[in-house]
Every structure is written in structure tokens, then in C-alpha cells.
């Protein structure tokens, strides 16, 4: 018996060793050469050349890095609560996380889309998707605050999102999971083929305010949508989506959704959809979804329940969508800067097919179809094909582009980036990544005018690259110089959460517009105190509202009495500072809540339900001045039946305490 256990243990050890080794890329183990350090060195006090806006994956946030240094500047809370600054905890920001399911404090943010004008970055907004409870968010790149979150109805998971059209007309949201939609959703799972549908939502962006609303929703056959890109230049007006599980499996997809040699790229003519809507052919259907907006003047978010959505059925309304066969379980679906080519990466394919937009158009005109799938025409593979990249590597996932006509494709299984020429389809160079790269990003890579210079790899496994921190290790990115013929590894840098897609944008498009303070004059928060004269405490039934001001280095009021057990206390803290980089924080002992971090000129509210009788300290949590430790106060909590009068003060010293 003992020998048996021993041999099992030995076997396990050997197996682990083999698995471990198979994760390592073949080829050079150390690819860094001499001048790498100088290329990423940004001297103290100097700025980086690019902002790198990186999705946080399962932390539900975005993070902001500098390139080429790889320094982390900030984590931007989007779909997850963030106790560090009170996002999702303060009364003002709680509505941002409302959904038709109620308050959802977490999500899984996979992809970034930066706003575009004429196909180029304009530095106004960053959009992100929530993969789990389907939503999209808009972040204002002047304030780096999440300003808007829109839920998506009839979606079983929003993966294929929030990719953007060349003038920011729309961002899209394609369902990962097809699900039963409409009135009758209580159906056997085994009726997938009959009852499960996908949807593609086209979310319209207001060109001035950036506000989002669902323009229309396309009902599609039940498959999984993975990724997408808008057309550009000649292909503007079209959108391309990768689909997998055209087997329409509903269990053990690992096996059952990988049966066919080819799945599909779905081409969507969204201008045609707009024509049908103009002709009144859309159908308004009932739906429940929530739209949350942050007001920059009141500093408060509000939620609205939406009740209907405009749907189009492309199986009936012809010429909106077409399928193109694509080997095998395609993941990335990327349009090149000229808008002529669509690169589809089959996760399980040994080649990369590159489709030609012109050929797709010719095939549609000539009805060069091989058949239909669920009522949608399927274009012949060869008729749409520009050509195939032969033997590129194993497990192609995503492709970005430089300004010289080259493509950079990530290979998960063989852990490498492969550079190839879009016209000639010749492989030009390959470099290992450490390890198992997912997405990659070239500055401006998805736009009409890439900036080139670098490619950044976002890896799924770091294993032995950093000092170990127990079973859970840091996630990481790697920076490569692509200015020459050969790609050169420059830098590893750790990332927060799990990075999926990221975009890089020249700092000159964002930094000069960055907001330094909120003007106190413009603050229209209903509980603002514009100056200490307006600081006060008011009782409304069992609610106690404290209109509090914060300025270096005191809070007004800092002595509050007359709070009783059973009260709910709202501290509305206005930061009176009008200087850059002087936030004040605020926390209350025992509050079942986070802190709030209040920017200059802003008002934020911390809700506190006292749970015991006594005197409770509160203080400023953000080191603000030499007398920061003095920035504190006391709230007295009395029994429910007590008759201690409500009173408040700062700087009033009573000679003898009473009562």
C-alpha cells in the first residue's frame, strides 16, 4: 500500500514537471539585449510618451499605465466597488452599479475601446464591457471617472464588446452566451436550437456628450459571439464578428463546440440596418434594463429603468448579415488600418485566414453562397479570402497593426508574437512571450493611423517571472520595440487584475485636457456646503444630514451631538480646496462602509448607521498637510429616548461639560 502511494506521488511530481515545462516557449529563454533599459527609462519627474488604458478583467476595473516605463498611475473603478475612493459605496456613486437585477457590485471587464474621430484616436472617452452581467461603461478621459453605465437586455454575457466605429457612431455588444429571449424563457436547455438566440446591440454615442443609448438590436441565430471590429475607410458601415459554437452545443463545449472544421465570421451591414429602421421596419419589444449616469455638476449618479428596445430580425430583413466560414473556433477578428482586410484567428487553426472586404462585396453581389445557416446566407470561403498566413504558430488569438503594413498576431499555445505582412502574408519575425499571451496592443493599433513603435503583450501566465507570492501570482505585460525589422523585448511589468485588451494613446491627446479641480462655484449637489457658513446639521425624522466642509486641516462641524440610536447619519462632505492634488478623505469608526475620497470642489456622502451609544471619532484619511493628524472630530451617539439636543460646532470650547 505504501509503495502504491509512493508511486502515485512520484507520478504526480513527474506530471507536474512536464506540464510546467510545456508552458515554456521554445527558443531563446532570455531575449533581452543590451540597450533595453535605456529604451524604457523615463527619468524621475519626466512623463511617459503613451497612456496605456488596460482592462482589469476580473477586478472589474481599468488601470492606467505609462509606456514605455510600465509604471502604474491609477486604477479606475468601473464595474466593481472600490473602497479606496468610495466608488460604489458613497451615496453618489451607488447608482452606477444598479442593474435590472438590483445592485451588482462586481463584474469582469475585458475590452477597451477609445473614442475615434475619422478613424483616429481623439482622446475623449474610454469604453469598457462587463462580461458577466451585460453592461457597457463610458469613462471620461478628462476626469478619468466612470460617467455612464448602460445595461444590455436580451444578452447572456457581453464579451464581443465595446468595439467602436470610426467616428464613434456606435459601440457594439455581442452576446457570448445565446439564451432564450422574449416572453417565454422557462424552456428546457436541450431546446437550444429552437429557443436560444444571440443578439448584437448597436449602442449609439452622442457625438457631443458621449451619452449612450441602444440604437437597435439584431436578433441572430443561437451561437457564441467572441470578438469584433468595425470596418474603416472603404469598409466603414460594416462590422465583423467572430462566432464559435456554430454546432449550437449547450454542454461540454470543449468537445461539442469544436466538431466543425469551420465556424463563422459574421459580417454586419449596419448602414443597411439603419435604412430598415428609417423605413419603420424595426420592432419595439419590451425589455428591462438600467441606464446609470453621473452628473458632473451635482457629482451624483442616477439610475433609470428602461422598458423597450428596437429589434431587427436579419433572417427576415435580408442583406443585413452574412456568414463567412472561418477555421476553427475563431477568436480575434481584426480589421487592418486600410479597412480592406479582416484577419480572423481560429484558436484551433493552423493557418490565419485574411478576408478581403472587396471580395466579400463581390461575392454578395454575385450571390456566391455555399448555402444558409439558420436563414442567413453563407459566403463561399474561397470567394471571400485574400489569402492565408501559412504555419504562423499555434493558437492564434488577436492581431494588431503598425503604420507600415505589418500585422502582429498573438499565439497563446506557442507563447509568441508573430509579425507578418498583410499584403504578402509572409511571416517576417517572431518573438517569445513569457507566457501564454492573450491580447496584445500596438499604440493606435486598431485605428486607421497606428503610431507603431511598441507592441505590448498581455500574458495569461507569469509562473517563474517574478518573486513568488504564494499560489496566486502577479499578472503581467511585456513591452517590445517594433521600430526595427526585428522585435525586441524591452520590459516586463506587473499588472493588476487580469489584463485582457488594452489600448495605448499618445499622452499629448489626453494630458493637456486633464481636469485639475472641480470648480466649487459650479457644484450643485443638493447637500453642498459652499463655505463653512453653510456647514450645518439637520434632522429629518430619523435621518441626520451633516453638511460638512473639509479644508486643510479641519472639518466643520467637528463636534456633533444629538444623534440617537436608530438614526441614519449622512455625512455630506464638501472639499473646499481649489488646488490640484488636494483631496480629503473621510471615515467614521465602525461604519459598515468604505471611506470616501473627496476631490477639490466635490461633495461626497458617507452613510453611517450608529450601532452603539458613545462618542465616535471620524477623521480625514488622505494625508493633506502638516496638521493632517489634527483633522478629526467626534460624533456623540445617545440612546433613542434621550433628549440631548442636536448641536454642532468647530472651535467652540465649553469650560465645563454638562449633561
Amino acid at each position: 500500500m505504501k509503495t502504491l502511494i509512493k508511486s502515485v506521488v512520484l507520478l504526480l511530481i513527474v506530471a507536474t514537471a512536464i506540464t510546467f515545462n510545456s508552458c515554456k516557449p521554445k527558443g531563446p529563454q532570455e531575449a533581452v539585449v543590451g540597450n533595453a533599459a535605456s529604451k524604457v527609462y523615463v527619468a524621475p519627474g519626466k512623463y511617459d510618451e503613451f497612456y496605456n488604458i488596460v482592462s482589469g478583467g476580473f477586478n472589474g476595473q481599468m488601470s492606467v499605465y505609462g509606456i514605455p516605463s510600465g509604471r502604474l498611475f491609477r486604477i479606475l473603478p468601473v464595474f466593481s466597488q472600490f473602497p479606496e475612493n468610495g466608488y460604489g459605496y458613497s451615496e453618489e456613486t451607488k447608482p452606477m452599479l444598479n442593474t435590472s437585477h438590483g445592485y451588482v457590485p462586481w463584474d469582469d471587464l475585458h475590452h477597451i475601446a477609445l473614442s475615434l474621430t475619422k478613424g483616429e484616436h481623439d482622446g475623449r472617452w474610454a469604453f469598457g464591457n462587463a462580461n458577466n452581467t451585460p453592461r457597457v461603461a463610458r469613462i471620461n478621459l478628462k476626469t478619468f471617472k466612470t460617467e455612464e453605465i448602460l445595461e444590455l437586455p436580451n444578452s447572456g454575457g457581453n464579451h464581443s464588446s465595446p468595439f467602436i466605429t470610426e467616428n464613434s457612431e456606435y459601440i457594439v455588444a455581442g452576446t457570448r452566451f445565446s439564451v432564450p429571449i422574449g416572453e417565454n424563457r422557462d424552456v428546457p436547455i436541450s431546446t437550444y436550437k429552437e429557443n436560444f438566440k444571440g443578439t448584437i446591440s448597436f449602442i449609439k454615442i452622442d457625438p457631443i456628450t458621449g451619452r449612450m443609448n441602444i440604437g437597435f438590436q439584431l436578433k441572430t441565430p443561437g451561437v457564441n459571439f467572441d470578438l469584433s471590429r468595425a470596418g474603416k475607410g472603404p469598409s466603414h458601415g460594416w462590422f465583423f464578428f467572430s462566432c464559435y459554437n456554430t454546432e449550437q452545443a449547450y454542454t461540454l463545449l470543449e468537445v461539442n463546440a469544436t466538431q466543425k472544421d469551420k465556424d463563422f465570421i459574421m459580417a454586419v451591414n449596419w448602414k443597411k440596418a439603419e435604412e430598415y429602421i428609417a423605413q419603420g421596419k424595426g420592432e419595439k419589444v419590451k425589455a428591462r434594463y438600467v441606464h446609470n449616469i453621473l452628473d458632473e455638476k451635482t457629482h451624483m449618479a442616477s439610475s433609470e429603468m428602461m422598458t423597450e428596445v428596437l429589434q431587427l430580425d436579419p433572417a427576415i430583413l435580408k442583406d443585413i448579415i452574412y456568414f463567412i466560414p472561418c477555421p476553427k473556433s475563431p477568436h480575434g477578428c481584426d480589421t487592418d488600418p486600410t479597412g480592406q482586410y479582416i484577419v480572423a484567428s481560429g484558436k484551433l487553426a493552423a493557418i490565419i485566414p485574411v478576408f478581403s472586404f472587396a471580395k466579400i462585396q463581390a461575392a454578395i453581389a454575385a450571390k456566391d453562397f455555399e448555402g444558409e445557416f439558420a436563414g442567413i446566407p453563407v459566403i463561399k470561403y474561397e470567394s471571400a479570402l485574400h489569402g492565408e498566413v501559412k504555419k504562423p504558430g499555434l493558437g492564434p488569438l488577436h492581431t494588431e497593426f503598425d503604420e507600415k503594413g505589418n500585422a502582429y498576431t498573438s499565439f497563446f499555445v506557442s507563447s509568441e508574437i508573430v509579425k507578418w505582412n498583410v499584403e504578402s502574408l509572409q511571416v517576417l519575425d517572431r518573438v517569445p512571450t513569457y507566457y501564454s499571451i492573450g491580447h496584445l496592443s500596438v499604440p493606435g493599433g486598431p485605428t486607421s493611423k497606428p503610431h507603431g513603435k511598441y507592441v505590448i503583450a498581455y500574458n495569461k501566465i507569469t509562473k517563474d517571472r517574478y518573486l513568488p507570492t504564494g499560489p496566486e501570482l502577479t499578472q503581467s505585460a511585456q513591452l517590445y520595440d517594433i521600430s526595427g525589422d526585428k522585435m525586441q523585448l524591452l520590459l516586463d511589468f506587473p499588472t493588476t487584475g487580469e489584463p485582457h485588451y488594452a489600448e495605448s494613446i499618445p499622452a499629448s491627446l489626453i494630458a493637456p485636457n486633464s481636469v485639475k479641480i472641480f470648480k466649487i462655484e459650479d457644484n450643485t449637489h443638493p447637500y453642498v456646503a459652499k463655505g463653512e457658513k453653510e456647514a450645518k446639521v439637520i434632522r429629518k425624522g430619523n435621518e441626520v444630514h451633516v453638511y460638512m466642509t473639509a479644508i486643510r486641516s479641519h472639518l466643520v462641524p467637528d463636534n456633533i451631538e444629538g444623534i440617537k440610536m436608530g438614526d441614519v447619519v449622512y455625512f455630506h462632505v464638501t472639499n473646499l480646496e481649489q488646488d490640484w492634488d488636494v483631496p480629503h478623505g473621510f471615515a467614521v469608526k465602525g461604519a459598515a462602509n468604505a471611506e470616501i475620497l473627496v476631490m477639490p470642489g466635490e461633495t461626497q456622502t458617507l452613510k453611517w448607521t450608529p450601532d452603539e451609544i458613545g462618542v465616535v471619532p471620524f477623521y480625514c484619511t488622505d494625508f493633506c498637510s502638516a496638521l493632517h493628524q489634527e483633522m478629526q472630530g467626534y460624533a456623540r451617539v445617545s440612546p433613542a429616548a434621550s433628549n440631548v439636543p442636536l448641536k454642532f460646532s468647530t472651535g467652540v470650547v465649553e469650560e465645563t461639560g454638562s449633561k
Binding site: N35, A37, S38, K39, Y41, V42, A43, G45, K46, Y47, D48, E49, P68, P506, A507, S508, A511, P512, K516, I517, K519, I520, E521, K530, G531, E532, K533, E534, T549, I551, R552, S553, H554, V556, L576, E577, Q578, D579, W580, V582, S625, A626, L627, G651
Partner: protein, 156 residues
């Protein structure tokens, strides 16, 4: 031999010299506020900044006094009392008798430079141990506040 080491270090240092990222000149390396005017005025009692000469009128301009009061309540009163009591900053009583109007307005609109270079402002910092914050006030705002200070000091 020792020197050889040093030389090779120097060479190494040069070969690793940081490349300045392109485009970093398009926006300033360090945050500077728009009002940061550095030229020193010949009359040191007027302070340092854009305000060289202020004309005061008698009687007081009452519309300015009114605006100055509301600015005081929102942006100044947290630290400056109207009496001679010092709290975070000095009380305002008799400030218009102690300081030139130009000095007061430069202190309000150009506070970072004043605290760095003006000896009188530096004395106040040593006394209060709290840098007066930039409260994002225009020259017009500062002039209104000055008029309110004059009223506070008993001028009619």
C-alpha cells in the same frame, strides 16, 4: 586599474543615458499654474505677480464688496477670521493697513511663487506652518476680496 573601472562606468552610464520620450515637450513637465508670474517687481512691498498697480477708490465700490463677501464665505473663511485672531491663517483685521493692495492680490493669485520667493510671505508660512492653498481665483476675484477687506478694516 581603478581609473579604468571608473572610466568604464562612465561609458556605461552614457550608453544607458535615457532617451527623452518624443512628444514630452508638447506639454509641461511640471504643473505650473497659469498665474505663476515670476518677474520680481521693483517695489518689494508689492509682492511678486501680475498685479503691479492697483487703484483704490473712495467711497468703496459696493458691488465689489458684495462679491468679495461671497467669495470670502466660500473660499477664504475656513482659514481666515475677520478679527485679528489667527486660526489656520492670520486674521484679516487691519490687513489693508499692514500690506500693500498689490501684495495682497499677488498673494491670492500667485501664492505658490509668493511662498517660494517673497520674504514677507515666507515669514507668514513659518508662523502658520501651512501653505496657503491656491484657491483658483481670478484677478477680478482677488480685487473683489480686497475691497471686502477694506470694508472689514472700517473704510467707507
Amino acid at each position: 586599474m581603478k581609473y579604468l573601472y571608473i572610466i568604464s562606468f562612465v561609458l556605461l552610464a552614457f550608453s544607458c543615458a535615457p532617451e527623452k520620450p518624443k512628444g514630452s515637450e508638447e506639454f509641461p513637465d511640471q504643473p505650473t499654474s497659469k498665474s505663476a508670474v515670476e518677474d520680481v517687481i521693483s517695489d518689494p512691498t508689492k509682492g511678486i505677480g501680475a498685479i503691479k498697480n492697483v487703484t483704490l477708490k473712495t467711497p468703496l465700490e459696493l458691488d465689489r464688496v458684495g462679491r468679495g463677501l461671497s467669495i470670502y464665505d466660500m473660499k477664504c473663511g475656513a482659514c481666515h477670521k475677520l478679527t485679528d485672531q489667527r486660526v489656520v491663517g492670520p486674521g484679516w483685521k487691519d490687513i489693508t493697513k499692514r500690506r500693500q493692495p498689490e501684495w495682497i492680490m499677488n498673494m491670492i493669485t500667485n501664492v505658490d511663487v509668493m511662498l517660494e520667493k517673497d520674504p514677507e510671505a515666507q515669514k507668514m508660512l513659518e508662523l502658520c506652518l501651512m501653505r496657503m492653498p491656491n484657491q483658483n481665483m481670478s484677478i477680478g476675484d482677488a480685487r473683489d476680496v480686497l475691497e471686502y477687506m477694506r470694508q472689514n478694516d472700517g473704510e467707507k
